[in-house]
């Protein structure tokens, strides 16, 4: 039978290291190599760094959501002793271009506003002074006169805005940045043959990562090149330095970006584009090195970390027996005042929009809406956390309407273990999985049947206790087509297709191994993971290996930690680099041992003859390779040195269909998570207490169980926050009401389940080295669905159902009150 997916031809696997080997280091909970310096207070974060003659910046920010700048009086600020300079948007524009935008057509965004402000917190003026205290004093002395314009706060209303309410009137006549419709497979036919259609209006509200470290930058003009030397806690220094150089109006040869330890990102520091451009402009204008570290208010109101903000009108088509046939939705996404990453967060969601279920077709109308809020940026899930929740909400709704058990409905529709590799309606590939086993293990860990019974008993006594199950996908290792595949085909933008990861590797004359990464540390475990893999490859102790980070002058092809890609991708680069070095070690070792390289093996840090005792240590080969050229034949392959670079491409990806009948394979290393939550709702206050919780994740072969566990637990905490407490609140004027840690309620130690039961299933990927899949986002991809489901179950006597998150106690209480007779 022909299908819209026929044009997808799956490339062959390029896996070199098979899963299931007897491994010494991979799979062990080794202590992290990153930790000692952090535990000693010597982390070298951005604000720990000073450069000679460094000055400090503070900013003046818009108090209005949408306003014309009539005038800015900086005279009093300039007169303050200790102030070096005071700069407004037109000053900044003389030395830098607008910030990079990945949207197509781009939405112009400047590091400092000119003429008009488009959200609360947008920078209108900056001061450079000899210390931060003086800079902030001066900021208070700047007088800005505004003419207030109508603020666009509501997504649907902003779609209809005209006149002065249009946010970018020079670029576009409305606040709708993109309106595209897609049909992946026979959506209309599948809906026509459905016995039952479930409809829900679902709202996912804005929140953000809020790493405990804010974003910051030190920039100085390089007197040699005339460009900049930049320290910044960005993740992107070795991915697209040419894009940064473009905004700074310099060549990449004039840009030197130095990696620093990053105090948490979760997506929020993927780029930090405004900060790099602003700080560099201030350095150029003032002629001094400048440090600018956001304070918490600036990080709330003007950073890169506002997450998805979506309204769905969703429909799920089912046969009367519960078989899912098709899903479609109309969707508005409130991207804020700019469109930094285009609609990439929606491209991302297409990787797994139909969940772990066999659904024949999928359709969508996507509207990217501009409003007077800070622009969206990445936050753990990059848009897929929302569609996971939508899919699971729709599944629960279907179970309710069809009077089926929600777990039975899920099991009936799940892809079976023998059906992989499986291509879903959007074209993405699910490489492998065993969803049934993940579910079984989660039910077993939490004692599902016992809890179901106990919750029913407690409800009979008048308590609101419920159990919720979520079975969600965790896509990993992104391909970059997600950033542009949903763009209008007439203006597709920069249609890149590579997200490689590279590294350098060398063996010094004493046999020690040096690896240099092109990525940065953001709280993940790059040094540990790479050392584990290299120790495995070279059969050496981990203490023989050291891992460092490259600046932009020595780095290359480093996309870094995002999209749950780093462990998988760097494992590939490690294997590629190791193959090159090991081949040469065998060549040299073979000469020294008078044996053919094919008869050699690596064992205990040596190259030895298979089946014989004769061997030579890596250190002995290395000293000869570096200092004893004349001990080897006079042919080029024996030339001195043991060093290489390697670049590992995405293991399996394909192009989108030219007419977007599908999006191709772009996010195929498919993990799976099952979260089961037991909650009690206090019907008087709306407060939700988590009584029990199980989280079982399948991330393929596990490299380091304890660090993966840390990702699962941390992601789950983020998911709990996104569901129950964390909400960015804007009033009707677009005023950001709660931009501080006291009122934006992130989970504290008491809010986490006290006895969270974590489990892992390991279904290796057939495409990656050792079968590793990514696992950095799964907690936040599962928790919102499980908690929403458990709350519905707990409140079934009221008929309350969670259709909007975050569902803070006051909102839940409102729903309960409305449901009471």
């Amino acid at each position: 039978m022909s299908s819209h997916l026929d044009s997808i031809v799956l490339p062959k696997s390029r896996q070199r290291e098979a899963p299931g080997q007897d491994l010494k280091w991979i799979g062990k909970s080794v202590k992290r190599l990153e930790d000692r310096r952090l535990l000693l207070g010597k982390g070298n974060y951005i604000d720990d760094i000073s450069v000679p003659n460094m000055m400090h910046a503070a900013t003046v920010r818009s108090p209005h959501a949408h306003a014309k700048i009539i005038s800015i009086d900086t005279s009093k600020a300039r007169a303050l002793p200790g102030v070096i300079g005071v700069y407004v948007g037109t000053d900044v524009a003389t030395v830098v271009d607008p910030c990079p935008s990945f949207a197509s057509p781009p939405v112009t965004q400047r590091a400092m506003a000119i003429d008009k402000v488009r959200h609360v917190g947008e920078v209108v003026c900056a001061i450079v002074a000899k210390d931060r205290y003086i800079a902030e004093d001066a900021a208070d002395l700047v007088e800005v006169e505004y003419e207030i314009l109508p603020a666009n706060v509501d997504i649907e209303a902003s779609m209809a805005a005209t006149g002065d309410a249009v946010i970018h009137p020079a670029d576009r006549a409305s606040n709708c940045a993109l309106d595209e419709s897609f049909q992946f497979g026979p959506v209309d036919e599948d809906f026509a043959r459905a016995d039952h259609i479930v409809k829900r209006r679902l709202r996912w509200g804005r929140s953000s990562a809020q790493a405990i470290e804010t974003s910051g930058c030190i920039s100085q003009v390089d007197p040699v090149t005339g460009g900049y030397k930049i320290h910044c806690n960005t993740n992107f220094s070795n991915f697209i330095p040419f894009v940064i150089a473009g905004s700074l109006k310099i060549a990449t040869t004039q840009l030197s970006m130095v990696p620093v330890t990053t105090g948490g990102s979760f997506g929020s520091k993927v780029f930090t584009h405004k900060i790099i451009v602003l700080t560099s402009a201030l350095a150029r204008l003032s002629g001094r090195p400048v440090k600018y570290i956001e304070d918490r208010l600036e990080h709330f109101t003007n950073s890169d970390s506002h997450g998805s903000d979506r309204l769905y009108e969703a429909e799920l088509a089912l046969a009367k027996d519960g078989k899912m046939l098709s899903m479609r939705f109309k969707m508005y996404d409130d991207y804020g005042a700019y469109l930094q990453f285009g609609v990439g967060t929606n491209g991302n969601a297409m990787a797994q929009v139909t969940g772990p279920y066999k659904i024949n077709s999928f359709g969508m109308r996507l509207m990217a809406v501009l409003t007077n809020k800070c622009q969206q940026g990445p936050y753990r899930g990059f848009g897929s956390e929302v569609t996971n929740w939508v899919m699971e909400r729709m599944t629960d709704a279907a179970a309710k309407e069809l009077k089926m058990d929600p777990v039975a409905l899920r099991l009936m529709n799940m892809i079976q273990p023998n059906e992989f590799p499986y291509v879903i309606a959007t074209g993405n590939l699910y490489d492998s999985g065993n969803y049934q086993e993940v579910l079984r293990q989660a039910q077993s860990l939490i004692g599902y049947d016992a809890w179901k019974k106990k919750a029913a008993d407690l409800r009979a006594q008048g308590r609101c206790v419920g159990v919720g199950v979520a079975t969600c996908q965790e896509r990993s290792v992104y391909g970059p087509t997600e950033w542009w595949s949903l763009n209008n085909r007439a203006t597709p933008g920069f249609t890149l297709t590579s997200t490689p990861e590279g590294m350098s590797l060398r063996v010094d004359p004493t046999g020690k191994i040096f690896a240099t990464l092109n990525a940065v540390f953001i709280g993940n475990s790059p040094e540990t993971i790479v050392t584990q893999i290299l120790a495995e490859q070279f059969t050496v102790p981990m203490s023989d290996i050291i891992v460092g980070y490259a600046d932009t002058h020595s780095g290359f092809n480093g996309v870094g930690p995002q999209g749950s890609r780093f462990t998988t991708m760097i494992a590939g680069a490690c294997v590629s680099a190791s193959i090159k070095i090991k081949t040469k070690l065998k060549l040299l070792g073979g000469h020294l041992l008078e044996a053919h390289p094919n008869d050699l093996e690596f064992r205990n840090g040596a190259v030895g003859i298979k089946g014989a005792d004769k061997q030579v240590s890596i250190a002995d080969i290395a000293i000869q390779a570096n200092f004893f050229r004349l001990n080897f034949p006079d042919t080029p392959e024996f030339d001195s040195g043991l060093e290489t670079t390697a670049v590992y491409d995405h293991p399996i990806s394909t192009l989108p269909h030219p007419e977007r009948k599908h999006l191709g394979v772009f996010y195929p290393m498919m993990g799976h998570v099952c979260h089961i939550a037991v909650v009690e709702v206090d019907a008087q206050t709306g407060k939700v207490a988590i009584l029990d919780y199980a989280a079982v994740h399948d991330n393929g072969t596990i490299v380091n169980p304890i660090t993966l566990g840390g990702q699962v637990l941390g992601g789950t905490a983020n998911g709990i926050g996104s569901t129950l407490s964390e909400e960015f609140i804007f009033d009707d004027n677009g005023q950001f009401v709660n931009p501080n840690f006291a009122e934006f309620a992130m989970p504290m130690a008491h809010d986490m389940p006290h006895n969270l039961k974590m489990g892992h299933v390991e279904t290796p990927s057939p495409y990656t080295e050792y079968g590793v899949k990514g696992g950095g986002e799964g907690g936040r991809l599962g928790a919102p669905s499980a908690l929403s489901s458990a709350i519905d179950d707990a409140l079934q006597q009221y008929g309350v159902s969670v259709q909007t998150i975050p569902i803070r106690p006051s909102k839940l209480r409102e729903l309960i009150r409305a449901a009471q007779p």
Partner: protein, 164 residues
């Protein structure tokens, strides 16, 4: 701006400096005294990353003026280790994966230090209570609770050995 002489004992060392009256203790430690291990996450006293121990009690250094610490004994994360061996609390955080990005870690370690100094064998609830004013965005707290519990056991074992 007028400066005020300030003398404190930080991690066992007497520090004499001059600061403006409005200088925060966190900024003084980080930028004047060269001890950047104390981190600043929110500057409004909520996240707890800047927690140090002042005269035996945990305090938020972003909510204290440096001059308020005149004459005080202060311990920061840099003072936990004796220079070679890690403190048992640091060891336990390492073994139990009680940190990821490390940014909240100084505050967590100093809260644990205060707790275990006063209560050598806390229950898990007491540990959660002690760190309930410290935000961590990476770990979900579970491994931090494990780390503090383990640190308590390590410190009790060391005390038993020392007493024997």
């Amino acid at each position: 701006m007028k400066t005020i002489p300030l003398s404190m004992v930080v991690n066992g060392q007497t520090c004499n400096t001059e600061v403006s009256s409005r200088m925060l203790l966190s900024d003084c430690l980080r930028h004047d005294l060269g001890l950047p291990g104390t981190h600043v996450g929110c500057e409004h006293g909520v996240c707890g990353s800047c927690t140090v121990v002042v005269d035996g009690r945990a305090a938020r250094s972003c909510l204290m003026f440096a001059v308020q610490a005149d004459g005080a004994q202060i311990k920061t994360i840099e003072g936990l280790s004796d220079g070679s061996a890690l403190h048992p609390i640091q060891e336990a955080f390492w073994e139990e994966h009680g940190l990821q990005c490390g940014f909240c870690t100084p505050g967590m370690l100093m809260m644990a230090y205060e707790l275990l100094s006063n209560n050598p064998d806390p229950s898990d609830d007491e540990i959660r209570e002690a760190i309930s004013g410290n935000l961590c965005r990476c770990t979900g707290y579970t491994y931090i609770v494990n780390a503090v519990r383990s640190a308590g056991a390590k410190m009790r074992a060391l005390n038993t050995m020392a007493a024997a």
